[in-house]
Amino acid sequence: MAQGTSTQITGTVAFIKVNKQAAQGLDSCFFGLNPTGGGIGPELFILWQSTLQLEGQQYPTAGDWVLRNATMWMLRDAFLNQLPVTVYTDDQDSALVDVVQLGALP
């Protein structure tokens, strides 16, 4: 789980957008979260964006793709059923998501 100065936001999924332009190094997945308690509108988050990997010369592994797929399905279920999800970003100024949580931890 993200630690330190990460941001934690809970809300419902407003949209999910997948860009599959992998050949151009532009494959990505963005989603919007309407914060619980209201606000001015959905916050935009990045589940993955390949250019970040490419600039670091680090290609996603098969394991990365399995996790991306699993996370996207969690978001899909949350979107369809309007379930609250909690996301943790890697920094307080960041929209890069480290953790997606569906449901409350005991």
């Binding site: 151009q24 001015i40 970040l52």
Partner: protein, 137 residues
Amino acid sequence: MGGDVGTATRSGGPQYARLKDLTGSGTELQATFQTMASLLESADFNASVTFRIREDQTFRSFTVSVADGTGKAAAEADPNADLEVITSAETWSEVASGSLSPLDAFVGGRLRMRGDLPVGVSMLTHLAGTSGRVQIC
């Protein structure tokens, strides 16, 4: 997908538009937002954007708005803003000077945004000082 057609390569990714230099009348936060408000007076849209700028663990809020050709900058949040941008003072300094695209800051994990995202696209299109993509997704 919208915005300008960017240059996408396997090594560099897309090129995002950077802002015009907003530091001409001073590098203080308020001065950069005042310059932004002035530049927006020629825009053909109305908008209100609140910027929450973090200095260490303290946030300062500024709102830039344009309505019917009149631009204003205020050192306070607008609860009815169309868009909210959250970033550090260090990152804003780079964005305001035109050396860092706000979209590069976003994909690099240095800026967050919430609200009416097309408003952000309109503002970046109007304030762009370089060519490049103005839309993130």
